[in-house]
């Protein structure tokens, strides 16, 4: 199982058109990726490094089906990502954004936000649920993410930075995905919180046999956290370490 590829990206190419200012005519093509291929093995982490503007975010968008590539294919858990319906896709792959606090609707209490997600989990897996089962599930998730029960009655603005990040991760974990894409998850946090979150990500990885794609621009962080590193360069070239 360990050697199994959970995600395979095969000869992916993507370019954007550059338009002239005045007449909006296409004057050039900016190549983001040219024949990009890599694999993410089961229960490992792949770091994606690169300067700003090289296409780190474009890569996430393509892998998570927000954008279409020009050519190439992506195999997720043995199946082309185009063949998944969106509901099934959500149980396979989840994203944690740089500013994960924006995932939390400021108008609702945390309990409501978690409840909605848990209901979604039961619906996606065609399981029956009632109030009791949902509450049990919520308690279980709180225990995993080491959050106190008091957060349930709080609004997002009443939580500390670390707690907000944990709630965001709880929402993602509640669907039990196989891959989590972490897009610079630590850059908005203090150094002491960063260490706490890194330990937490590693714990979750072991517990749920997760695979991570870790987008960062910090080489030290990538070397600490990841098993393999994909370095993207300007103009579509890349290297894998």
């Amino acid at each position: 199982m360990i050697d199994e590829n959970i995600l395979e990206v095969k000869s992916l190419s993507k370019s954007y058109s550059v338009y002239s200012n005045l007449l909006q005519l296409e004057i050039d093509k900016k190549i983001i990726f040219k024949n990009l291929s890599f694999v993410l093995k089961f229960n490992t982490s792949l770091g994606v490094l690169g300067a700003s503007g090289v296409g780190k975010t474009t890569l996430i968008k393509i892998v998570s089906r927000i954008e279409e590539p020009d050519s190439g294919e992506i195999i997720l858990d043995g199946k082309n990502i185009k063949e998944y319906d969106y509901k099934e896709f959500a149980t396979k792959l989840q994203l944690l954004f740089q500013n994960s606090f924006s995932m939390l609707n400021p108008r609702y209490k945390i309990k409501f936000l978690i409840k909605e997600r848990v209901k979604q989990y039961f619906k996606l897996n065609n399981l029956e649920y009632n109030k009791k089962i949902i509450n049990q599930k919520i308690e279980e998730l709180l225990e995993i993410t080491k959050l106190p029960k008091t957060v349930l009655d709080a609004y997002p603005y009443q939580l500390s930075g670390g707690q907000k990040q944990r709630v965001a991760i709880l929402l993602i974990i509640s669907l039990y995905p196989k891959i989590i894409i972490l897009d610079e998850p630590l850059s908005a946090l203090d150094i002491s919180l960063q260490a706490q979150m890194l330990n937490f990500f590693l714990e979750l990885k072991e517990k749920f046999k997760l695979s991570y794609i870790f987008i960062t621009h910090d080489r030290n962080l990538a070397e600490y956290f990841c098993d393999n590193i994909l370095v993207l360069h300007e103009g579509g070239s890349y290297e894998i370490k």
Partner: protein
Amino acid sequence: MTENTILKIENLNVSFKLNKKIFYILRDININIHKKEKIAIVGESGCGKTTLANTILLLNDEVITDYSGNLEFFSTKGCCKKNKYELIKQHKFLSKDEIKHIRGNHISIIFQDPFNALNPVVAVGKQIDEVILNHHKEYNKKEVYNSTIKLLEMVNLKEPELVYKKYPHQLSGGQIQRICIAIAIANKPEIIIADEPTTALDADLKDSILKMLKDLVDKETSALVLITHDISIIKNYVDYIFILYLGEIIEAGKTIQVFENPLHPYTQFLLSCYVDATKKGKKLPTLPYDPINLYDKNFIFKKCIFLNRCSKKIKKCETLKPEVFKIESQKVKCWLYE
């Protein structure tokens, strides 16, 4: 205090009154800043770094803020009648013009978020012009334009004439931060406060911005107060470090000494939780519990502020607030060094 002192902060306390509670944000702050000196104030978010910067410029909301202690600024420019401003004692009596004269002319600030620091509907060159004109009313249009172009060149922006006409949205993050730095140094202030100048920028830009800031400060003979939460980035850029934890300076000293021999358990923790390949597979150190509330009067004035998270605490920490102990040139607020 020596002749070279330009800013003297003595026993400064700042508190905010919010929702009928008093939050003791800064307590017993003592900092002396000398000419051409570069210092860094390091601490987690919520520890009062930005409040300290705002206090120096009297930018806190006067309705909710209470000050005590001394905050004195010694002008060396020779452009004003007074050589000494007692900012805290007198701030209620300083006229608006006087405060305006100090801000930007004697002490300037680079704010945390460069994207929100500029006016989106005014060309960036015009915004620099405005800062120069505010303090040099005798300049004519051409003189102002020329000084702005010179400033843009100083902050390493290519084609300054073109950049002059651009609007903030047409520039990248690094370029906008350079514009903010140009605004800060426009009137050759004696003190430049940089409040997390690199937080909103990419890692590859951080070093170049800090290096440029250091070179400019050296060139213009200003003093620099660098405020940051990232202790790792400042090593090569400042002479002194002040570690702030929940509104108190718990350790201060020369940069090299603090890095080589951190004394306070919190500083030791800060320096130990940096990651690199050598720590792979090992668990990183973390602090237990959350920081205490800043309105908990019984705790913050009677016990060590780091007590609930400290791994080296002794009995005395629970009953008495630690004094400041001097070890060589380092100062530390911890009973372990009694």
